[in-house]
Symmetry: C2
Subunit: 132 residues, 2 copies
DNA sequence: ACTGATGATCAGCAATCCTGACGATCAGTG
DNA sequence: CACTGATCGTCAGGATTGCTGATCATCAGT
């Protein structure tokens, strides 16, 4: 079975599985963590900017932020310059949890790619296929 | 953005998109085609055997076959040896459509991997990550 | 004949993603 | 200032996919 779709789908499923398990103790999953990572550094972003960075839908990011806000990882604030925009920032708890969870993610990815001779190249090839 | 989950997810999304578009004229999508490919060669398989080959759920394969049967690509027959089993076979139309669609798929995958220096290696690495 | 396992189907749930509509707000124009 | 069109976020809802548990028919072994 060497169909590309099959391979990508199940490789992704395996990774998602392992990430989900490993991140569960921190109250996060892989998608949550990606959201945090998008807003952790640099100037504060609006929801739409976060959505664009993660290539997810504008409504999906709303749902994700709902969950993260409920759990106290992020806060939404109306931008004073443009009151349509919700600026998203990490709470203190968000910062510390992110730092830990991000280390876990890196470790998971390292282990995941361990069977490959050159994991970094594999990752670069994925980027290439995405046109990034 | 070099998160593995992000990359795999969106690379898969792009491939799925292109496959879906290219296969639409034949009344198939990538998943349908994978089902056909699983049963096209060799001895007839039961639904469960097809599901195992494709690593999909036993109930999902039922739904997929419902669609393929409606469109006249496959037939389900009770196995005479074990009347619990549904043996799945291609119809004549299924055979010819499969042959054409499979060529399309190969072409799509070839183009998709074109940006890489060594597409075959990339595919092998995916297999490796799946443990196959 | 009885028991336990297996194959297929069904109903139903959960996650994910997207669409369309809406209210609030902004920017540009006259 | 008033008006128009665009943008941001939210909401309701639908489509897809994947899974679980229950059920029925059938099989295999005792």
């Amino acid at each position: 079975m060497d169909r590309l779709g099959y391979l990508l789908k199940h490789v992704l499923a395996r990774l998602t599985d392992e990430q989900t398990k490993a991140l569960a103790p921190y109250g996060l999953n892989g998608r949550d963590l990606a959201v945090l990572s998008a807003i952790v550094a640099g100037e504060p972003l609006s929801q739409l900017e976060v959505a664009h960075r993660l290539r997810v839908d504008r409504t999906s990011i709303g749902d994700l932020l709902d969950g993260l806000e409920e759990r106290g990882f992020v806060e939404r604030r109306r931008s004073p310059e443009d009151r349509r925009r919700n600026v998203v920032v990490l709470t203190e708890q968000g910062e510390t949890t992110f730092a830990t969870a991000e280390r876990i993610r890196l470790e998971i990815e390292r282990e995941f790619l361990a069977p490959l001779a050159d994991g970094a190249r594999f990752r670069d090839e994925l980027k290439l296929l995405l046109g990034e």
